[in-house]
Symmetry: C2
Subunit: 389 residues, 2 copies
């Protein structure tokens, strides 16, 4: 259970099988976000058809509404949502910070006012694990604090040390062997803090590790060295999960650095706003040009929207505020990211990840590949010798 | 083409095959409404899966946005919407009355201000046919006026006479043999006016006839005698379409009276508001009881929502304002009406329509079957001898 078998390596990038109780997933993978027990607008059947493998659920949202007891009464998230495959739940820590009002962090945990009704709620490591055991995901996350960006070094240090003490409490109370608890490495964009967090976290030897505390406002040139530093110091034989990250260019760059798992609301949220992800960048279907274009969003895409609809039709649906528009654009964008990681896996298996990623980026960035992206690819490719030690 | 073959009769009710260029449909049937080129939230694949046969498009909406030229550039509604089966378009007449601002009716046609941008638009019989030919439906409707309820008899008389003159102009300009033009009988709830409209309209011998001007505010005891009167005087060998009608009890009552075709936004609209149609009446998923019910909306239903979701889950989606809720409730409600007409067809074929409809109504109305409904069934059953003359 929770075995992580690497099938191919290319530099730091790898293709692996991750075995979970509800099925084996192939990494690198992108996990659609089902915040409130549904990937917005998309059915489980569609998720399976477009190649989704593991769905993320949010502890914060689900504990507040409908409450974890109702989900548990359905046999957990698979019964509740009718998605029969593997799930991952976050710990609630991140969203307490971003959504809870008047939050107060103590050694015990976090007290906050619900964004739904203002009621006072406590979330502690013990409570987070209890909720996540009721939700029944295959992978659950340790309760952590994700400091805002920017934050002072002393604050980040105190926070990551507390997060490790919270991890210890999570490990202590966790009961279900069919759930894998992943620890989260913090430390912001500071190498010495990342190293401290690694030193304190790795001894817990959890079945997987997440890189937390990034994509919270820092620039990409600030973020990627922290990804590179942390990913290389995580165990080879366990999955590495870069939390909350999922623009196309992020997936391609972080895969080069050895990241295996991603999640982000970006594909569904930007889809609801009328944007479609393509190899040529983001297509704005709210603009005037698509209104008369009788071609699909993406000729190379095999999603339902691209197989059936023109840009003109989808642009019409958007202007008419028809529900089918956000549904179809969300579906396309998720399929785009799934196809992107599928292509990345093929390139890794063929030992040509850097070439593929460079070609992809040349088109995506219209010839202006940013330095942070090139450096991520170079770091990923250049460390092959280190790994073979 | 457009042949209407009656396979079974039971009283006034009948089961028939209606042949159209894009396929043969079986009546009685309910047509989902795709106002703006989409049945709200539902994909064409789903429409096919739940047993939809013919989809309605709205001339008024589509001519204003995106404009019929764009739809025609896609090869008409099938290419635009990706629903490959038969379509029906209304003439725009009804919606000009309900949505257009500052409308002015003359012998020539109607002038109104668009509800989208206030621009001045003309709609005439000629223009309606031109738009409907561009939209490319299999069945198109004559341009008519649907008077409001209540209206004075002299007004309704003048209106129905003008509608007949408009019908003549529609017939004159119509060009495409692959489209069937249906005439519309008006006359409100007045038998003498219905008879006058029939006398003036039937000679046009169109491939089908619609009963218009009902379900516009009159009560059911006022409406059903008008349906009964008109339906019995329409040709036996042509489809009869009761426009804009589609509550479950309406379908069951009007099928008894020999109506073959129905359309209504009701199933999708009430679904978006959180209501589910069942044999036990309308279930309000916004109420508190369903929040903890671990059963499907309807154990007898084979739709995706009933096969996968509990009432508690759907109630959660509604409270969380998740898009999947209106999508799934619209899908269920459409499937409910399609299953209802399927069961009606089986009962007609078995020669037990009155019994089936009475059983259905006993449960639906919780033992309190209204008089108008009983009378419709009695009229439908009692006229068998008349028809066999």
């Amino acid at each position: 259970m929770f075995e992580f078998e690497i099938a191919h390596r290319d530099g730091l990038a790898r293709v692996a099988s991750f075995h979970t109780p509800r099925g084996t997933v192939t990494t690198p993978m992108f996990m659609p976000v089902g915040t409130q027990g549904t990937v917005k607008g998309i059915s489980p059947q569609e998720l399976t058809e477009i190649g989704s493998q593991m769905i993320l659920g949010n502890t914060y949202h689900l504990m507040l509404r409908p409450g974890e007891a109702l989900v548990e009464a359905h046999g957990g998230l698979p019964g509740f949502t009718a998605y029969a495959g593997p799930f991952l739940t976050d710990s609630g820590g991140f969203q307490v910070m971003s959504l809870g009002h008047m939050r107060k962090i103590t050694e015990e945990g976090v007290t906050f006012k619900s964004h739904l009704d203002g009621s006072l709620v406590n979330l502690t490591p013990e409570r987070s694990i209890q909720v996540q055991e009721a939700l029944g995901a295959d992978v659950i996350m340790a309760f952590d604090e994700c400091p805002p960006f920017p934050a002072e070094v002393p604050y980040i240090r105190a926070s990551l040390e507390r997060t490790v003490r919270w991890l210890e409490r999570c490990v202590t109370v966790k009961q279900k062997p069919e759930q894998a608890l992943f620890a989260i490495v913090q430390g912001g964009i500071h190498e010495e803090l990342r190293q401290q967090s690694l030193d304190l976290t790795l001894p817990f030897d959890t079945p997987g590790f997440a890189i937390g505390g990034l994509a919270v406002g820092e620039s990409k040139p600030e973020m990627y060295p922290a990804v590179a530093f942390t990913a290389q110091r995580l165990p080879e034989n366990k999955p590495r999960y870069l939390m909350g990250v999922g623009h196309p260019e992020d997936l391609v760059a972080a895969i080069a650095l050895g990241v295996d798992m991603f999640d982000c609301v970006y594909p569904t949220r930007t889809g609801r706003f009328g944007y479609a992800l393509t190899d040529d960048g983001r297509l704005n279907l709210n603009s005037s040009a698509p209104r008369t274009q009788l071609e699909p969003i993406d000729k190379e895409c095999d999603c339902y929207a691209c197989q059936h609809y023109t840009r003109a039709y989808l642009a019409h649906l958007l202007r008419a505020e028809e529900m089918l528009a956000p549904r179809m654009l969300s579906l396309h964008n998720l399929r785009y990211l799934h196809r992107l990681v599928e292509r990345a896996r093929e390139a890794i298996a063929a030992g040509r990840y850097t070439d593929w990623a460079t070609d992809w980026a040349g088109r995506y960035f219209k010839g202006q590949i940013p330095d942070w992206f090139r450096q991520a690819l170079e770091t990923g490719a250049g460390n092959l010798s280190d790994l073979s030690r």
